[in-house]
Symmetry: D2
Subunit: 243 residues, 4 copies
C-alpha cells in the first residue's frame, strides 16, 4: 500500500515506544527506530502478525550519519506515502550522580541523546511532515519529556540539561512550524512507567506506575487535534505521584 | 434511568460550554449551569431532542447560596446516579482596563467569578465525585483556564488575578484529591474561541480561532485517562497563535 | 523635613516588615501599616529614637475604607514629600486545611488579604509613586510572595489562591507601570523566616531560617536598581531548603 | 597578597563581563577568562592601574583541555587564596536561523558554549569554592541566562537549547551545593545590554538597554547574601521591555 500514511517512532523498546507504535499502527504503517534491533523486533513482529505494517531500522539517534542514513532509507521506501506523525521517545542519556563524580562523557550524554538526538530526528522528519498531504489529521511531531524537563534536581545535572534542551527545541519548533501546519508537542512523563524494567519496583499504592498504553493514547489524542486547537504541552503522572 | 452517570457543566453558553455538554451527553446525563437560562436552553433542548438527557439549572456561580441550592437539587434528583465529571467553565470576571481606572467591584469580579466560583463549584461537586462508583473512567473535575492563567498582562489585573487563583485552586485540589482517585485537571485555552460572539472577528489566517468541539474532545480525552496516567495541565491554541 | 522622601511598608509586625522598615528608614521617613498598633509600635519607636522618622497608622489592609482613609492621611501629611517606595508585605490569609473542611470565609480570606489587599494598597500608592520627583532611585512597589505563589499544595488552596492572585497583580502592574518609570517587583520568600513566632521551631541544620534583615537588604537592592535594569522577580530561601 | 580572596569571571568582553570584573575587583583579585585576550586585556589593565589585582587567562570555555589547563594555573598561582566567587558569563553559541537551515555544527554550538561550557567551568570552580575559608560572604557561583533561558522562540532553537541546558545545570548545582554552603544563582538578562557592540542600536525610548554596571551590582548583591537567604533566580530587564 504505497500511499498509506506512515509514522516514525524513535526510541522503541519494550515500554512506551512499543505502546506508541502499537497505537499508531492501528491507522498507519509504523517505522520503529532503536540502536539495538532486539528492542524493536518484538513489536515489529507483533504488528505485522496482526495485520499491520511495521518496519524496524537500527539507528543510533545521537549519531548524525546513522540518523541521516535512516531517513535516506525512509525517503526511498516511503517516497509515495505521507508522514503523518513522528515521535521522539529516546530514553538515552540518563545518569544520576553527584556532579563532581561525572565524567565529561557522562555529562554530555544527556545532551547527546536528548538535545542533539532531538535535533537530528526533527531535521530528518520535518521536511517529510511539511510535504505530507491527504492526511486525516495535521502532521505531528511529538517529543517525550520527563520530570527532569522542568526541574534540575540534585545529581540529575546531566539528564536535566538534556531534557531542558529537548523542551527548548520542542518550543522553538512549535513556534516555527505550527504556523506551517505541523503540530509540535512535548509530553512530560512525570513518574515511573510500568515497563518490563520496572516490573519489580513496588510502591505503597497500587497503580502507582504510568501505563504505557495510556501514554500512547494521549499521544494519539494530540495527533488527532485539528490545527485550530493544538496542545503544546501535557504532563502525565500517576494519581499518587508527589509533585 | 436512575443509575446512568451524570456530568455537571458550569458555565454553559453557546460556545465551549455547549460543546462540552454535547460531548459528555454522548455518555452521560448532563446538567448545565448558567445564570441566564437563555444560555443553556438551546443545548439542553438539542441534547434531549436527540435522545440524550440534559437538564439546565439557573445558577449564579459566584453566589454561595445559589450554588448550594443547585447542588441540593442535584443531590436529590440524582441521588442514585454517580457523578462522572464536573467541569468549571465560567467565563465571568473578564475586564480589560488600566489599573487606576478599575473600581473595586470591577477588580474583585475576576476573583469572584473564577477563584470563589471555582471554590463553590468544587465544594459542591467533590463530595459527589468522591462517592461515585461503577464508572468507566475515574471521576473527573476540570477547570477552564486562559492565557491570563499564566501571564498577568498590562490592563488584565482583574481577570489575571481570578485566573491565577483558579489555577492555584486546581493545583491544590489535584494534589489533595488525585491520591483519592479524583482526576483534577486545568486546561489553558490560549486564543480566541470560535463562538457566536466572535464570529465577526477576522484574522489574517484561516482557522485562527479555537474550535469549541475540539476543546470538548480534549476534555473528554482527559476524562478517559486511567488513574495511572492523569494529565494535570494542557495548553490549547490555534496553530497561528503567537505565544 | 517636608521634602524628605518617604516609604510605606504595609504589613509590619516584629519580623520581615520591621526589618524592611528599619532598612528603608536609613534613607527615608517610613510609614508602617498594620491593623494592630502593637505590631508596628516597637519598630516605630525604635526608628524615631535612633534619629529616623517613622509613623504607624492602624490599617485593615483588606478593607477599602480603612486603606482609603490611611492614604488620605498620608496624602495630607506628606503632601510635599515624594513617595520613594511602597512595600506590600501582608502575611494575612494563611490557612492550612483539607479543602472540604474550609468554610467559605476561610477560603476567601486568602484572596481578601493578598489579592484584594494588594489591589487596595497599589491603588493608593501608585498615584503617589507616579508623581514622585527628585528621587535618587526609581519609585518602587514591591510585593511579598511565598512558596504558595508558585505552587498550589494540598491543603493550601486558600492561601495559594491569594498568593497566586497577588503575583498576577504584581506582573500586570509591572507591565503597565514599568514603562511609566515605576519599578514593580515580586519577591518569593520560600521558607520559614526567623521571627519571634518561629523562634522555637528547630531544624536539623543551623541557619535554616530566612533572616529578615537579609530579606530587607534584597528589597533595598531592588529599590536601588536603575530603570535600565529592573528585576521583576527574586526567590529567596535558606541554603538547606528543599525546593 | 597571597591570601586575598579571588574571583573568576568567565566570558569577559567589553560589556557585562568587564563590569562584573570591575565590581568584584573592589574586594577581590579577579581572574578574567576569554578566548581572545583582546577581550579582557583592557579591563585587566584598568583594574591593575587603579590599584586592584587582575589577571587574564586565554581560555576556550567549551574546550575541556583549555578549561582544565586554566584551572591548573589558577590552582597553582592562587593556592593560598580562597575562591570567593565564580561567574559564568559566556555569550557564546548565539545563532538565529530557521531550523532547517541550521547545520549540525551551528545547532550544537548553543550547547557547546552554554551547557558544556557551564559544566566545565563548574567542574573547575566548585572544588575551589567548597574549600574556600575565611570569606566575608558565602562562596558564590553565578550563571548568566537570557530570554532564551525560559522561552524557545522560533529560529532560536540552537541558542535556547544551550540556555535551557545552562539553567538546568544551575538548578541542579544549587540543589546539590547549596546545602554545602555554596550559593549558586542564575540571572536572566532579558533585553539588549548597552555595550560597545550595541551602541548604534536605537530604541523608541531612552534608557531602553540594560546597563552592565547595574547587572554587575545585582551579581554583587547576590554574592553578599548570607546562607540563610540565598536567591536562586533573578530576571533583569529595561523598564520599557515587552515581556
Amino acid at each position: 500500500m504505497a500511499t498509506k500514511p506512515f509514522a516514525i517512532i524513535a526510541g522503541v523498546g519494550p515500554g512506551t515506544g512499543a505502546s506508541i507504535a502499537r497505537q499508531f499502527a492501528k491507522a498507519y504503517s509504523v517505522i520503529c527506530l532503536a540502536r539495538n534491533p532486539a528492542n524493536f523486533d518484538p513489536v515489529v513482529s507483533e504488528i505485522n502478525a496482526s495485520g499491520g505494517h511495521a518496519l524496524g531500522i537500527s539507528t543510533d539517534l545521537s549519531d548524525s550519519a546513522s540518523v541521516r542514513s535512516t531517513f535516506d532509507k525512509i525517503s526511498q521506501q516511503y517516497a509515495n506515502s505521507p508522514l503523518a506523525a513522528a515521535v521522539f521517545n529516546s530514553g538515552g542519556g540518563f545518569v544520576r550522580k553527584p556532579f563532581l563524580e561525572l565524567t565529561e562523557e557522562e555529562f554530555t550524554q544527556g545532551y547527546e541523546s536528548q538535545g542533539k538526538g532531538g535535533y537530528l530526528f526533527a531535521k530528518g522528519s520535518l521536511p517529510l511532515l511539511l510535504k505530507a498531504t491527504g492526511l486525516a489529521h495535521p502532521p505531528t511531531l511529538i517529543f517525550t519529556g520527563a520530570t527532569a524537563s522542568l526541574k534540575g534536581s540534585a545529581n540529575f545535572s546531566a539528564f536535566a540539561t538534556g531534557k531542558f534542551a529537548l523542551r527548548a527545541l520542542a518550543q522553538s519548533l512549535a513556534r516555527e512550524f505550527g504556523p506551517q501546519g505541523v503540530h509540535v508537542s512535548h509530553v512530560i512523563v512525570d513518574g515511573v512507567i510500568d515497563i518490563p524494567r520496572t516490573k519489580a519496583w513496588t510502591f505503597e499504592h497500587e497503580d502507582a506506575k504510568l501505563d504505557p498504553e495510556a501514554i500512547a493514547a494521549a499521544y494519539w489524542h494530540l495527533h488527532t487535534q485539528p490545527r485550530t486547537t493544538f496542545a503544546f504541552e501535557l504532563d502525565l503522572r500517576p494519581y499518587v505521584e508527589k509533585w
